[in-house]
Symmetry: C2
Subunit: 338 residues, 2 copies
């Protein structure tokens, strides 16, 4: 058995250091992927820091993997050695619960994160349950596709969940790693897109990404002029906002959909939901079927994340850059193990 | 023109007194209904007290009307003099906005309440835009049908909104005017029904109404044992509850649907929505089509509210009884104008 070479942290908030481990025999339901590129996502930082209290060390982060299959377990289906695949936030699910048999494996109560109790993609090879390895369609550049696996799926999934249609009015709140992809998907979906950002400096960028309108996310009176407009507001930030004004900006039957890990509880006034039949919702990443559909859609409409690359050997530098908030908009590490 | 005889309050929180007024010419789009019965709803009390700040006096409450058509405007369609109809919370809508032309008149921004700036059903006659007069199907007892027009529609509509299916697990929170009907509808819909109540004394009643299980709505640890169970929790109360535990009791893709006028903002933790793709929603009454469908469903499954009757001339006594919280479960006033 060849050891896997990886970058691992040995405790919360520690630097990543070279780490080799024996992955053991490949299980029948697993496949092994040789990592070519792996996105660095904000949740890698959260897990590195044990922000959610469930991290396990040594920790190998990385859950936006693009690479080629090098080994197939005997029960892996529909995949071939040499095939280009992506692996995202989850790399395991029970396959027999109500959610799994309904095709909603991402809602399985035993769904296993790629980076919690499992070695992630900051490594030369990564393993995954076969059904969580999603073939990458023609037309996507492998170098930039990693962030679609987590960030892309996260902002794409709400369009399916809420049955969003072309012509609907969509607001994307926050223009960062998630939000910039949200704007691109909303535009390609045929929607009228309003970007909400706290930074004036991002107004032009938002328009270039495809936004029809740009509004300050911290200007309650500006948001107040948009009462009853939006079919969906996709919230990608993790800070408190003027929730009452944002909810008021929803059209009848509109949805405030949250994918950002907002810490403080959101105070929801019942009457705001009742009077216009509105909804507050949230979702995690997506099912394997949703990821595949998102990749097909991205390939068809030439949607790719805006990416900055680091060699994987400079992973600590990349983490520091992520923390600085300067990344525009996603970071991808290029595997460079010798 | 014959004056309309009514019971009206001349200011917030005042007693109702006999009141006669000239309703003027019947508009082309209106009909006039001779009131036989009219439910007394908690929102009549809220409007009487000007709790929502938009009441107009003299105020004639009453928005759960059952009666027979006595006059038809020239544009009224599909109705006949002598026909038994019901009138609920709304009695007007613009008929040309996106919501109205989509059949969602109850979400029209100009939808007009039957008791705000309009004389309601505590009267010998009441007027309504023709489309808000809903024919009462055979098989419903007119004496007890009034509360279906508002309370019934309010708890029925969420089953359509969320596409609830037989076999789904539904919790009804609060067993009162709304909740007791929610239990009956959920049972007839084919769902597994859990009633949540703060009063031990209502356990047996809840089972008689059709609940399969009864749980204390104030016992967080009891609710905690139900994690991940419910496809919908229908909240009919207007008090603060352990929202975090209730949301945690939702199944993946489950909805906490609020129809009670909860005063305090509900603190919603984003991660609780995100991790299991849950939703918080609300709705007001329903469209004319929903009211008609609800009445058909109620007739088919013999669903009627549990009602206590007062002669309309004892309306002030009925309001006091409503405020006492002793009503089981709805009050209906029988018109007794001389």
């Amino acid at each position: 058995m060849t050891l896997i070479k990886a970058w691992a942290a040995h405790g919360p908030k520690e630097k990543l250091v070279p780490y080799e481990f024996d992955p053991g025999r490949l299980n029948a339901g697993e496949i092994e992927v040789k990592v070519e590129y792996c996105g660095l996502c904000h949740s890698d930082l959260s897990v590195l820091n044990n922000d959610w209290g469930n991290s396990e060390y040594p920790l190998v982060p990385g859950h936006e993997v693009i690479g080629r299959i090098v080994a197939l377990g005997s029960e892996a289906k529909g995949l071939q050695v040499g095939q280009l695949v992506g692996v995202g936030w989850f790399s395991g699910s029970c396959r027999h619960c109500k959610q799994c048999v309904s095709g909603e494996d991402h809602l399985c109560s035993e769904a296993a994160s790629t980076i919690i109790g499992h070695a992630g993609g900051f490594a030369d090879r990564v393993r995954t349950q076969w059904n969580w390895a999603i073939p990458i369609p023609e037309g996507l550049d492998p170098r930039d596709t990693g962030p679609l696996m987590c960030a892309g799926t996260t902002v794409f999934s709400p369009f399916l969940i809420h049955d969003i249609k072309p012509g609907d009015r969509i607001g994307v709140v926050g223009i960062g790693g998630l939000g910039h992809l949200g704007i691109k998907f909303a535009k390609a979906w045929g929607c009228e897109v309003t970007a909400f950002t706290s930074r004036m400096s991002k107004y032009d960028e938002a328009k270039k990404l495809g936004a029809d309108h740009v509004v300050s996310s911290t200007d309650s009176s500006a948001i107040g002029t948009l009462a009853g407009i939006f079919d969906m507001l996709l919230v990608t930030v993790n800070v408190a906002l003027d929730w009452a004004e944002l909810i008021n900006a929803l059209a009848p039957k509109g949805t405030l959909h949250i994918v950002g890990a907002v810490d403080e509880p959101i105070p929801v006034a019942a009457f705001q939901l009742i009077e216009s039949q509105r909804t507050i919702a949230g979702s995690p990443t997506g099912s394997p079927a949703t990821i595949a559909r998102m990749l097909d859609f991205a390939a068809r409409y030439k949607i790719s994340p805006q990416v900055e690359h680091f060699p994987m050997s400079r992973v600590n530098e990349a983490f520091a850059y992520l923390e600085s908030g300067k990344a525009r908009y996603r970071i991808v590490l290029d595997a460079d193990f010798s």
